[in-house]
């Protein structure tokens, strides 16, 4: 009982933190099944958009000794109303039954293969202010017993905590999205400036093409044509960045060779760096191995930081940009992009993550760093910056390595389809 008390205490102190909600919910499920001596515990989350419940984590007993282990990434979905979990969600009441197969309220999918026979079930809906967030279920009381009234109270208490955790998390997510949209609204004037400049250049390109045609001068036509092409590319980049910034996006995690990703990236920027006499070097910890990240997203982040770093080294002799990869500890990966360029003033440092803030004039969209920070925080990572005028700037990305295989909680409220949210 003491461990339950300890857990309740730590749960309460952790309520305010939100990044490790996956772990908290997993712990909570395990504690619930252990406390009421069940064999299995499942926390299903409710997806409002599809009106379905899906497994978030499943906690199973791993032996007689009372040990439990987590199964992750079980994607079984069920409609509201289907089975016991569905029934509990539909009727918004707790269920405590024995031999559920004999109960025709809980019609089960005959094709479903369950290796364990279920003899007793205790299910509690997670409801906060009339809103359904999911269902916490315990299956099979040990020793073939039925779940008691006390078990109902215990799991009810933990379910209440889970509800608070989830609704707190979802409120924070909503607030974050609202803030971002407000930012965007206030920045429409600034974005109009960027768009108008591009439009102006495209008009210019067209005008020059027309001038070339009327003078029958093909060189002039090509000059104009180049301007149109260049600016159509800029427009594409800007619009994609705006979309990327304004929509929440779940990272598409993949095993990634981060060292390879960085050397490919250096290849990509090498021509630009050479033309500005800036050297770009990679220093990678040899035992960094593969990491579980969204390669496109992280590529985008490192590219943004590297381009900024090259720009900061312009007009400097011996300009150097360094990309360093290291294991901070077993849990996290550190990506450091540093330059010995002109540095960022204190005043500007306060604004570098503001949307449409740029000191690069026409060369910046003012979205690179906000987009970078957004992608990093979607990876539950951090982005830090230090800078000194005349000495240079260092950006440090820290990414958790342990996101491996975790079903991201932020997929709950539906995520945009990958196709329409692709990176350029």
């Amino acid at each position: 009982m003491n461990s339950l008390l300890d857990f309740l205490f730590s749960l309460n102190t952790n309520l305010a933190r939100r990044t490790d909600i996956d772990e908290l919910l997993a712990d909570l499920t395990c504690q619930a099944v252990r406390a009421i001596r069940a064999e299995t515990g499942i926390l299903s989350l409710y997806d409002k958009i599809t009106d379905e419940l899906y497994y978030h984590r499943k906690c199973v007993s791993t032996g007689e000794s009372g040990e439990y282990g987590m199964q992750e990434g079980v994607f079984s979905r069920s409609k509201r109303g289907e089975g016991i979990i569905g029934w509990c969600a539909e009727h918004r009441t707790s269920v405590n039954v024995t031999n559920p197969d004999d109960d025709n309220r809980f019609r089960r999918d005959p094709d479903r293969e369950d290796e364990t026979h279920i003899h007793s079930v205790l299910a509690v809906p997670l409801i906060f202010r009339e809103e359904l967030h999911g269902v916490l279920v315990a299956q099979n009381k040990r020793n073939q017993d039925a779940f008691s009234k006390d078990d109902e109270k215990l799991i009810g208490t933990l379910a209440a905590h889970a509800t608070l955790l989830i609704s707190n998390y979802r409120l924070a997510e909503e607030q974050l999205n609202r803030d971002r949209l407000t930012d965007l609204g206030q920045s429409i004037i600034n974005s109009a400036h960027g768009l108008k400049n591009i439009l102006n250049n495209m008009d210019g390109g067209t005008y020059i093409v027309e001038t070339g045609v009327s003078r029958k001068n093909m060189d002039t036509v090509y000059d104009g044509w180049d301007i149109i092409k260049r600016n159509s590319h800029r427009l594409r980049e800007l619009v994609l960045d705006m979309l990327l910034y304004s929509r929440p996006r779940t990272p598409e995690y993949q095993e990634t060779d981060i060292t390879q990703l960085c050397s490919d990236l250096i290849e990509l920027v090498s021509e630009k760096a050479r033309s500005q006499q800036v050297e770009v070097v990679l220093e990678a910890d040899p035992d960094i191995g593969t990491v579980y990240i969204d390669p496109k997203g992280i590529h985008r982040c490192i590219l943004n930081l590297t381009s900024n770093a090259i720009h900061a080294c312009q007009q400097k002799n011996g300009g150097q940009v360094k990309i360093q990869l290291s294991k901070k500890d077993d849990e996290s990966l550190e990506i450091r992009v540093s330059d010995n360029g002109k540095g960022i003033s204190k005043d500007n440092l306060e604004h570098i993550f503001d949307v449409f803030f740029t000191t690069k004039g026409s060369k910046g969209t003012g979205l690179g760093l906000p987009v970078t920070r957004k992608i990093i925080s979607e990876h539950h990572g951090t982005l830090e910056v230090t800078s000194e005028i005349g000495a240079g700037t260092t950006f440090t990305i820290t990414l958790p390595r342990a996101t491996t295989g975790v079903v991201s909680f932020s997929t709950v409220s539906g995520s945009p389809s990958p196709a329409e949210d692709s990176f350029p």
Binding site: N200, D203, G204, T211, N231, T359, G361
Partner: protein
């Protein structure tokens, strides 16, 4: 014979400078020089004394308003006519036009043209400046 007039185009966008150059090439035979930022513009003005400056407003580090102010407050440059170009006629959150510059800065540019640039407007403005302003 009247000597060729020199026009200085100031914009941080190289493509925008090319646009203005192309328009000017259709107006008359001018010597067109360019500058990509405020400090460089202020220096070029000393060296080349252009007959007209076409000045963009939104530039990094030193914006067009500041450049305008500097030019107007120096005896050697205060009489050079200036045509201002802008993507957003907006300063301190309000729409900002030619007359506002007179009110706030004590002097106004010869013309104030919004981007995207209408080539006809710029042509008219350049012709008007050279007809009106004594050189």
């Amino acid at each position: 014979m009247e000597s060729k007039k020199t026009i200085l185009v100031v914009d941080d966008e190289p493509d925008a400078i090319k646009f203005v150059e192309a328009v000017l090439s259709n107006v008359g035979d001018y010597t067109v020089i360019s500058s990509s930022d405020g400090p460089d513009c202020l220096q070029r003005v000393q060296e080349e004394t252009p007959d007209l400056i076409i000045l963009d407003i939104m530039m990094p580090e030193m914006d067009g308003f500041k450049v305008f102010y500097e030019l107007r407050n120096k005896a050697s440059t205060k009489d050079i006519p200036i045509i201002m170009l802008t993507g957003v006629a907006d300063k301190v959150g309000i729409r900002f036009f030619k007359k506002d510059m007179k009110d706030y800065m004590g002097s106004e540019p010869a013309e104030y043209i919004e981007k995207p640039l209408d080539p006809a407007k710029l042509q008219d403005a350049v012709q008007w400046v050279f007809e009106t302003y004594p050189v």
